[in-house]
């Protein structure tokens, strides 16, 4: 049966194998004189063993099907909003980016009334900019037209 631990253990083991594969381009050194790949390889081996042990011992863990992913739509939307923010932050500037991200989250994801969403997004984007950039002097990116 596909259990949570079996999937998690297998995932960790695969990640460890990827690290081992990627480490081959770095000098390994020797036991007495470790090179830059020494620690990553040692740790990846440890993770591989740990992952396999978790998978092997995970017979009695809860079934993978028992995991609820009811919130996946929200999670994907939030991820998309954050990814947009990361892409746009230095292109559109802080205020415009945050305004658009908040507008999306409130207006589209949470289905708030358009006026409420616009006012909240505008106030929050401008307010946090004023607090951090202007008052606390944390430099935040500006976009076109100095926004």
């Amino acid at each position: 049966m596909l259990t949570v631990d079996r999937v998690a253990g297998a995932g960790l083991a695969v990640f460890a194998l990827v690290v081992l594969w990627q480490s081959r381009v770095l000098p390994l050194g020797s036991l007495a004189n470790p090179g830059p790949a020494y620690m990553p390889v040692a740790l990846a081996m440890l993770l591989l063993i740990g992952g396999l042990a978790i998978a092997v011992l995970g017979r009695d863990a809860p079934a993978l099907r028992s995991l609820g992913f009811d919130e996946w739509r929200h999670a994907v939307a939030i991820f998309a909003a954050c990814a947009f923010a990361a892409l746009a932050l230095e292109r559109l500037g802080y205020r415009l980016t945050i305004f658009l991200a908040l507008l999306f989250l409130l207006g589209v994801v949470e289905r708030k009334r358009p006026v409420v969403a616009v006012v909240f997004a505008l106030a929050f984007a401008a307010g946090t900019y004023l607090l951090f950039d202007t008052l606390l002097r944390v430099p935040l990116p500006r976009g076109p037209f100095g926004l």
């Binding site: 960790l12 004189n33 830059p36 978790i54 919130e71 999670a75 923010a85 945050i98 909240f120 935040l140």
Partner: protein
């Protein structure tokens, strides 16, 4: 002793200067808010507000960040008592009897006991920090790379051992964290490792994006879909005074919780959670009326709340004296100090006595501020919980992006936060603890450097770790703990970690 008192007087002259006092106050208020809000623990709170301290001098910045830390520990009890939702992980045990007291109409008394217990524990444990940190720092001057390597490895093993749930899973998470910490330039050879042409990764993964992603964003991803906010029991101000019997019942648990919390705090691991769990178990064992636990026992609130606040000061001991973080929150504090040009470690107390003692004194002041602040203003803080989550989480998300970006002015950090958020979300779903990852990321470069320096010292002989008594002792204790956890695995019974994991899930 006289020297300590003299130093403390110097510290108070710093802590009581109006600007430092103001920042301590601001830190405590923000910390309380952070603690009250479910999902924004002290770790994410400190990480997010780090950029706001960039314009300050080191003392003010560190005093404010420490205020956020222990403010959050205070604030976490409010939601536990009034809503049965732990504002931060350490308040899990307070939920049980705190909420039961609230349902009996004793919410005010429970809040007052939690606040007074936190104040007593917070203040008393600072004395411990004050007395223990300087001699420990002096002792640590004898540490060389082998001792540091053993200490750091020991720290990770203890963290894995002390984490709730399976030690195997915690060790795997520590290994994953250490692996992520390998990203960046190798300090000994200058090789770029796993950077894939991204120059910003040369310095490695920053602790702030990793912590905010794993703790802040992952929490939002997992909980944003929940629609209906839970009910809040609102206490009246005149109910805030506990009865004489309640004070009597609370006195001894507060004392025990203080000592226990401080001792657990010094040991690496998720000190706050463990200390409150152990304190609850101890009080139940010592109680003449154990059947009251779970139904509103005063000791069930007083003990754990004192213990988790005391552990906060305890956790500062290894960080300030050795420069070694004992858990994810001290790790972020350490990073924050480094941003401000302060290097915690054996030389800090000698080279920057004003900062060290000012910090100690500010903790006394902060505890008093929190006591004054928490009780009368509890209604105000609770109102924050009435903000609907569909408005709250976009706001927290904005602070996350802003905070992470502002540390280095780099969008790459925002991407790292996003990746860590997704990783944290998945790991949460699969039942893994993510605290060892944060500590692993911070400790990885230190461990690697200490290992390679040790081998350079010994001409490549690993025996150096067993020939030096401090290193050998630390490694032996770490190995002993691993064997201990194997014992419970072989017996296939529920050991204390499994019981704690169940308590955290609210199944106790």
């Amino acid at each position: 002793m006289l020297e300590t008192l003299h130093n403390l007087a110097v510290g108070f002259s710093v802590a009581l200067s109006p600007p430092v006092l103001l920042y301590a106050f601001v830190g405590c208020v923000i910390g309380t808010l952070v603690g009250v809000l479910p999902g924004v623990g002290p770790l994410a709170g400190i990480s997010l507000l780090l950029p706001a301290t960039f314009g300050m001098d080191a003392t003010r910045a560190i005093v404010m960040l420490a205020g956020i830390y222990y403010g959050a520990m205070y604030g976490g009890s409010t939601t536990s008592i009034l809503m049965r939702i732990p504002g931060e992980a350490a308040s899990v045990m307070t939920c049980i009897d705190g909420y039961a007291m609230a349902r009996k109409g004793r919410a005010g008394a429970a809040l007052a006991i939690a606040a007074v217990g936190s104040y007593v524990a917070g203040s008393a444990s600072v004395i411990g920090l004050m007395l223990l940190a300087p001699p420990l720092a002096a002792f640590a001057l004898r540490f060389g790379p082998p001792e540091y390597f053993a200490l750091l490895l020991f720290g990770l093993l203890v963290l894995a051992y002390m984490s709730s749930g399976s030690m195997l899973k915690s060790l795997a998470m520590a290994a994953l964290g250490l692996l992520l910490g390998m990203i960046g330039i190798d300090q000994m050879s200058g090789y770029f490792r796993f950077a894939y042409g991204v120059v910003e990764l040369g310095d490695g993964l920053g602790v702030v994006p990793v912590a905010v992603g794993l703790f802040g964003l992952a929490e939002i991803l997992a909980t944003a879909g929940q629609a209906v906010p839970p009910k809040v029991i609102e206490p009246r101000l005149r109910e805030l005074l506990p009865s004489r019997a309640e004070w009597r019942d609370a006195a001894a648990p507060i004392g025990r919780g203080t000592v226990l919390g401080f001792l657990v705090g010094i040991i690496p691991g998720s000190a706050h959670i463990i200390s409150s769990f152990v304190s609850y178990a101890l009080e139940k064992k010592l109680s003449k009326r154990p059947e009251e636990f779970g139904h509103g026992a005063v000791a069930g609130v007083a003990g754990p709340e004192s213990a988790n606040n005391s552990a906060t000061s305890g956790a500062f001991v290894p960080m300030l004296a050795l420069g070694v973080p004992s858990g994810p929150i001290p790790a972020v504090m350490l990073a924050a100090m480094m941003v401000h040009g302060v290097s915690p470690g054996p030389l800090l107390i000698r080279q920057q006595p004003e900062l060290f003692w000012g910090f100690i004194a500010s903790m006394y002041v902060g505890n008093l501020v929190l006591l004054i602040l928490n009780l009368p203003l509890v209604g105000l803080f609770v109102n924050l919980l009435r903000v609907p989550y569909p408005y709250l989480y976009p706001a927290i998300l904005t602070f996350s992006i802003l905070g992470v970006y502002a540390v280095n002015g780099s969008v790459v950090d925002v991407w790292i936060m996003l990746a860590m958020g997704v990783l944290g979300y998945i790991l949460r779903k699969l039942g893994f603890e993510t605290a060892p990852i944060v500590l692993g990321v911070v400790l990885a470069p230190m461990i690697e450097l200490a290992l390679r320096q040790s081998l350079a010292m010994s001409d490549g002989h690993y025996a150096i770790f067993f020939q030096r008594p401090i290193a050998a002792a630390l490694l032996a204790v770490g190995l002993g703990m691993m064997l201990l956890s194997l014992r419970s695995f072989i017996r296939r019974g529920l050991d204390w970690r499994a019981r704690m994991a169940l308590a955290e899930k609210g199944e106790s």
